[in-house]
Assembly symmetry: C2
Homo-oligomer: 378 residues x 2
C-alpha cells in the first residue's frame, strides 16, 4: 500500500454528507484533511472492515477485492494513521533504546555502533526507534515502565548497564519486553546479546605473554560491570598461569574515559615503573594512556606496549595506531533488535547470545625490550 505515486485525488464525494468537524483541530498536517480508511471504503464501495483487512493482508478477502481496494488505496495516496492502528491494535511498532546518563553518551562511538546496528535492523523489521536516557528521574519515577504503560513502545533495549541498575529487575518478569545489550547479569534473568569479552581478553593476554610481557597493568573500569569483571578475571588467570601474581596495585579504574585512562596510567607508573605493557578495558582508556605516555616521553611500543578493547573507528588513527580487540558492536545491536522483536511477537525462550571477537594487531604493541625500569618523573 505504500506507493510513490502521489496522484492527488479529491478526498470527499460531495454527494455524500460531509464528515463533521473535518480537519479543523485534529489530526496530522494542519488543514490537510488526509485520506482515511473510510474515504477509501466509500470510494471502493466496501466496508471499512474490508479495507482494513486488505491493509493487513487478511486472507479472508478475495483476491479480486484485495487488488481493487489495494489499487485504490495507492491511487488515493492512503496512509494509515498509526495512532489509530496502535490504539485499536496490540502494538506500537516502536522500540526504545535506553542509554546511560553519561554526558557524552550519544557522542560515544561505542554506543553509536550499537545504535547503528539497532536502527538498521529495526527499520528492516518495520519498527521505529525512540531514544531515552537513564537520568535519575527516568529511573526514580519509573518512566522506563511508563513508556510501556502509556503505549509509547513495545520493547526496550538497555545499553551501558551495570550491576547497580536495580531497575532492570523490573524487566525480568517478561511483562515488558526488554533486552540487555552487550552486558549480562547473573543475578537477574534478562535476555541479552553481548560480545565475547572473555575470549577477547584471552587473545590479548596470550598475545602479550607471547611477546614476552610479564609486568602487565590493567586499566579496568568499575567492577560492577559483568563484562569488565570477565576481562579482569581472564587477566588474573592468565598471569597466574604464566607464574605471575598481579595484585590490586597493577589494576586501576580508568572509568572508560580518556582522562580516566590517562590518570590510571599515571598512578600505575608511579607504583610500577617497571611495567612493560598496559591492557586497557576499552579504546578510550587506551587512547588516554597513549596520550599520557607520549607527554611523558615514553615511547610506545618501544618502552611500553598498549592494547585497547572495542576497535572503534578511531583506534586506527591515533599515533601509534592501536592494537585492540575488535568488538562486533553493530552486529550485537542488530541481533539484539531482532531478538527483542521476536520476544515482542510472543517467542518465549530466553535469549543469551554471545558474538565472537578478535584481536587486531596494529602499531602500539611490540616484543618486550628491556628489564630496566623506566626513568620518568611523574
Amino acid at each position: 500500500m505504500s506507493s510513490t505515486s502521489q496522484t492527488e485525488i479529491p478526498a470527499g464525494d460531495p454527494t455524500i454528507a460531509p464528515r463533521l468537524n473535518n480537519g479543523s483541530r485534529r489530526g496530522g498536517a494542519r488543514g490537510g484533511k488526509s485520506v482515511s480508511l473510510r474515504d477509501v471504503a466509500r470510494m471502493a464501495k466496501v466496508s471499512v472492515a474490508t479495507v482494513s483487512m486488505v491493509l493487513n493482508d487478511n486472507p479472508r478477502i478475495s483476491r479480486a477485492t484485495h487488488l481493487r481496494v489495494q489499487r485504490l488505496m495507492d491511487r488515493m495516496g492512503y496512509q494509515p494513521n498509526r495512532l489509530a492502528q496502535s490504539l485499536s491494535g496490540r502494538y506500537t511498532q516502536v522500540l526504545a533504546v535506553l542509554l546511560p546518563a553519561l554526558r557524552h553518551a550519544f557522542a560515544d562511538a561505542y554506543f553509536g555502533e550499537l545504535i547503528s546496528g539497532i536502527c538498521d535492523r529495526a527499520g528492516k523489521l518495520g519498527y521505529k526507534v525512540m531514544l531515552e536516557q537513564a537520568k535519575p528521574e527516568f529511573i526514580k519515577e519509573r518512566k522506563y515502565i511508563e513508556i510501556f504503560e502509556r503505549r509509547y513502545v513495545d520493547g526496550i533495549l538497555c545499553l551501558g548497564t551495570n550491576d547497580r541498575h536495580h531497575y532492570l529487575e523490573d524487566f525480568s518478569g517478561g511483562k515488558y519486553p526488554a533486552l540487555v545489550v552487550d552486558n549480562y547479569f547473573d543475578q537477574w534473568k534478562l535476555d541479552h546479546t553481548a560480545c565475547d569479552y572473555q575470549s577477547g581478553a584471552e587473545q590479548v593476554m596470550n598475545y602479550l605473554l607471547q611477546l614476552g610481557h610479564r609486568r602487565i597493568a590493567l586499566l579496568t573500569a568499575a567492577s560492577e560491570i559483568t563484562t569488565a569483571r570477565a576481562v579482569r578475571d581472564v587477566y588474573l588467570q592468565r598471569l597466574a598461569a604464566a607464574g605471575v601474581t598481579a595484585d590490586q596495585s597493577w589494576m586501576e579504574d580508568g572509568k572508560f574515559t580518556e582522562d580516566g585512562g590517562a590518570e590510571a596510567t599515571r598512578l600505575i607508573l608511579q607504583r610500577h615503573p617497571e611495567v612493560t605493557a598496559i591492557f586497557a578495558g576499552n579504546d578510550k582508556m587506551a587512547i588516554g594512556a597513549l596520550h599520557l605516555l607520549s607527554r611523558l616521553g615514553v615511547e610506545v611500543p618501544r618502552d611500553i606496549s598498549v592494547v585497547g578493547f572495542d576497535d572503534l573507528q578511531h583506534a586506527a588513527f591515533v599515533t601509534p595506531s592501536l592494537t585492540t580487540v575488535h568488538l562486533p558492536l553493530y552486529q550485537v545491536g542488530s541481533l539484539a533488535c531482532e531478538r527483542l522483536v521476536e520476544r515482542i511477537r510472543g517467542k518465549t525462550e530466553s535469549v543469551s547470545e554471545v558474538l565472537s571477537t578478535h584481536l587486531v594487531v596494529r602499531d602500539s604493541t611490540a616484543m618486550v625490550r628491556s628489564n630496566e625500569k623506566l626513568d620518568v618523573s611523574l
Copy 2:
C-alpha cells in the same frame, strides 16, 4: 498526575457492569488491564470529560474537583494512554531526528553532540525523540512526509544536510515543521540553527597567518555544503588579503573522514611539498592528516602545523593534541529543538540563528620554521 506512589488499587468496581473485551487482545502490557480515564471518572463519580480536563489543567474545573480528581488519579496510578491522547488531539509530542545515511553516522561524535543537545532539550519540553536515517528509500518514497501523515511525529530536525538534498524543499512551505541543524540554505526558505563557521575560519586563518604561515593547504569537503563553502571562502579571502593567491591545487576534498583527510593530505604534499600548514574542515580529516604525517616522519607542529574544526572530545587526545575550532554543537542541537517546538506550537517567524565559535590552541600548531621544502617520499 505523574506520581511515584505506586499503590495498587483494584481497577474495576464489581458492582458496575464490566467492560466488554477487557484486556485480552488490546492495549499495553499483556493482560494488565491498566487504569483508564473512565475508571478514574467512575471512582470519582464525575464524567470522563471532567477527568480529561483535570488532566489537561483546564481552568474551567473548580479547584475542589481538580484536587479531588488529581489525587485519585495519583492514587490509582493512572497513566494516560498517549495513543488515545494524540489520536484525539493535535500533537504526538514526538520529534524526528534525521541523520544522513553514512555508515557511521550514529557513531560520529559530531552528530552525537548535536543529538545530545536535542534529546536533553526535548526531554525538558516533554517530547520524545525518534531516530530516522536518510537512506535512499526514505527519501525516494517520501517517508520524511509519511512520518507526519501517519502521525508519528510533530516535527523533524535535519542533520548532515547538503545542497543535493532537494527533498528539503518540501519543508519550505511550513506545512510540516522542520528545522535544519548546523547548516543553512540560500536556495530554500528553511529554519535553521548553526555554528558560526565563518568566524571560526577567520580565527584559524588569522592565527596561522600570525604564526607566519603563508603556504597553507585546505582540506575541505564537498562544496555542496554551505558551511564548508563559507570556510573555503574565508580561507581564500584571508590568503588573498595576505598577498597569497591559492589556487585549487592547495585544496583537496577529504570527505569529512580520517581516511579522506589522510589521502587529501598526501595529494597536497605531492603537489606542494613546501606546505607549512594544513587547515582541515573538520577534526576527523585533521586527525587523518596527523596520522599520515606521522607515518611519513613529518613532525607536527615542527615541520607542518595542523588545525581542525569541531573540537570533538577526541581532539584533545591525539598526539600532538589538536588545535581546532570549538563548535557549540550541544547548544546548537538544544536550540534547534527549542525553536522547532515553538514552530510546532504555532510561532511563525522564520528562525536563523548562529552560535559563536572559538579557536582552541593546542599542540599541533607552531610558528612557521623553515622555508625548505620537505623531503619526504610519497
